[in-house]
């Protein structure tokens, strides 16, 4: 009797995460979707004119900016993350690994506001001085994000590489391949789906990051043409304008949130599907 009650309660608790997910979806759509209909899908998605107090709700420049910083962070972050993953999983003695892996994961623990702050203090002046432009830029945001997503990609890639059966490696080495050849020709291809999952999750993290990007990206509302241009992402717009928005302006921010939510869920579902395929 008592056991039955406990089981019922636990079953209920177990549905908390999925319920919250559904609640989030419902609330974001309920708040934002009417505006998309009001503004018209075309004018919302494919116009770069964002002046919500004057009835213009085009988010194109933000979408492009979000994609651009994400792409930039992947271009810079993935090689670095993979280098760390290969080194730690293949070249690193186990006793050093138990120390180095948590150290790299600690990088994920540094608050994003601290990353943003260091970006402003150290990175932005460097870019302004040596590359030109205002410094606060797509490039600065990409570099900071590259460092921020690195631990995610490294950590999942290490697991993927370690999951490759030892037999594959031994087979390659037995045929006279060097360790590096074995990694390049046998181990990495076998770990591919795990590594791709890691990169996708890194992308999801980059596109959703807010505070660090606000601090270093410059937040200019236009479609960037150079990596030295300042950009304003979907997340930055929401965070910057939420505080003072009202009426249609506020709903427009929720509508931008819907687009972000769709991107993220798409990436998550893709990552999940890839993980399952293994």
């Amino acid at each position: 009797m008592k056991e039955k009650v406990i089981e019922k309660i636990l079953t209920l608790l177990a549905f908390s995460a999925i319920s919250i997910l559904l609640l989030i979806t419902a609330f974001i759509f309920k708040e934002g979707f009417p505006l998309i209909l009001k503004a018209g899908i075309n004018d919302f998605l494919f116009s770069a004119k964002w002046a919500p107090t004057k009835g213009h709700f085009g988010i194109l420049s933000m979408v492009i900016s979000s994609l651009a910083v994400t792409f930039g962070s992947i271009v810079m972050g993935v090689p670095l993350a993979l280098a760390c993953a290969i080194t730690l999983a293949e070249f690193c003695p186990p006793r050093l690994l138990v120390f180095l892996k948590p150290t790299i994961e600690l990088l994920a623990g540094i608050p994003s506001v601290v990353f943003g702050f260091l970006g402003v203090i150290l990175l932005v002046p460097l870019i302004r001085e040596y590359l030109g432009g205002p410094g606060l830029s797509l490039l600065a945001a990409s570099i900071i994000l590259a460092i921020m997503i690195l631990p995610t990609i490294t950590s999942i890639s290490i697991d993927a590489i370690q999951a490759v059966p030892l037999l594959y490696k031994e087979g390659a080495l037995a045929m006279g391949a060097t360790h590096w050849q074995a990694i390049r020709l046998v181990i990495l291809p076998a770990a591919r789906s795990g590594v791709v999952t890691a990169i996708i999750l890194g992308m999801a993290r980059a596109i959703g990051e807010t505070m660090a990007v606000i601090m270093v990206a410059g937040n200019a509302l236009k479609i960037p043409v150079s990596i030295l241009d300042p950009v304003r992402t979907l997340t930055s717009t929401i965070a910057l304008e939420m505080g003072y928005s009202a009426g249609d302006h506020r709903t427009a921010l929720f509508a931008a949130g819907i687009i972000l939510f769709i991107f993220i869920m798409g990436l998550n579902i893709l990552a999940n599907a890839l993980m399952r395929k293994k």
């Binding site: 008592k2 056991e3 089981e7 636990l10 079953t11 608790l13 177990a14 908390s16 995460a17 999925i18 919250i20 997910l21 609640l23 989030i24 609330f27 974001i28 708040e31 670095l80 280098a83 760390c84 290969i86 080194t87 070249f91 180095l100 948590p102 150290t103 790299i104 600690l106 990088l107 623990g109 540094i110 608050p111 506001v113 601290v114 943003g116 702050f117 402003v120 460092i147 060097t178 590096w180 050849q181 999750l201 993290r205 959703g208 990051e209 807010t210 505070m211 997340t235 929401i238 965070a239 939420m242 929720f254 949130g257 972000l260 939510f261 993220i264 998550n268 579902i269 990552a271 999940n272």
Partner: protein, 279 residues
């Protein structure tokens, strides 16, 4: 095409890969060093124990420490029972099937939702719909949605690590299922579960996007959970972004990084303790 000797190319790659790994670890140590170098000299007992004065230009950070503690306390108060309950259900009360697939999908997806979306959600539901305004309660509840997936995952892993035989022993002594879980399984899994909670605290300490729209940023000392409050991380963000005081910003950042270091290292040690127990 130039042919490179495989042994040579292996040497080159090894140097390159170790170099990049060194660079990454170097970046981490540089961040910690830079913040401590500039921030630790700002820290004193008065800095910690007095309230901010003049938007934080002078005074200390006491009110923000209190707000941070409140917020994390509220978040864990809700996230721990939900997360632990989910983990117990997944490990002890069900077998892999459609239901566990749905629950796992929910947990993994929730873990992937960026904090700004959680912030929007918390704003729409707690601040507006429930009418609690910007308050520590709204912030804590929103934060708990961010912590829930971590707590579920770490608790589930720790419970699964408890040898199945312990359950059989308890059952064979006529101990009921729930008592077996509370008296045998959970005590053995405790260090692992604690690791998850400790890591959640670390994440909460550094979080800003979730909190700024739900708990607000009032600098007043919070008298109740229905008042707005400014956490350490939010305070640091505002000090730095609005250029209020560089020295205060560095001091606050040093406290943030110090806390995160201490919490992460304790989580690491707890985890090692747990692993040792079952190997």
């Amino acid at each position: 095409m130039m042919h490179i000797n495989p042994t040579l190319s292996q040497k080159i790659m090894k140097v390159l890969l170790w170099g990049l790994t060194g660079l990454t670890i170097g970046i981490l140590f540089f961040i910690i060093f830079f913040i401590f170098f500039n921030g630790l000299p700002q820290i004193s007992w008065t800095f910690l124990s007095s309230n901010p004065v003049d938007m934080g230009r002078s005074g200390g950070i006491w009110a923000t420490i209190v707000s941070t503690v409140y917020l994390i306390g509220i978040a864990l108060f809700f996230a721990t029972p939900l997360g632990l309950g989910t983990a117990i259900f997944l490990t002890e009360y069900t077998r892999e099937g459609l239901i566990t697939k749905i629950i796992r999908f929910g947990t993994e997806s929730l873990a992937g939702i960026p904090s700004i979306i959680l912030g929007l959600f918390g704003f729409a539901i707690f601040v507006m719909a429930f009418g609690w305004g910007w308050s520590l309660l709204s912030g804590g509840l929103t934060l708990s949605t961010m912590l829930l997936p971590t707590i579920i995952r770490t608790s589930e892993e720790s419970i699964l690590a408890v040898p199945r035989e312990y359950r059989e022993v308890a059952f064979s002594l006529g101990v009921g299922k729930w008592k077996t879980i509370t008296r045998v399984v959970l005590p053995s899994a405790l260090p692992g579960i604690m690791t998850g909670i400790v890591l959640s605290i670390a994440r909460s300490v550094g979080e800003t996007a979730v909190i700024i729209f739900t708990a607000g940023s009032s600098l007043r000392f919070p008298e109740s959970i229905f008042e707005s409050g400014r956490t350490l991380a939010v305070h640091f963000y505002i000090l730095a972004r609005e250029g209020i005081s560089m020295s205060m910003a560095y001091g606050t950042a040093a406290i943030l990084v110090l806390l995160i270091l201490i919490i992460n290292i304790s989580a690491y040690l707890l985890m090692r303790m747990f692993m040792k127990k079952f190997s």
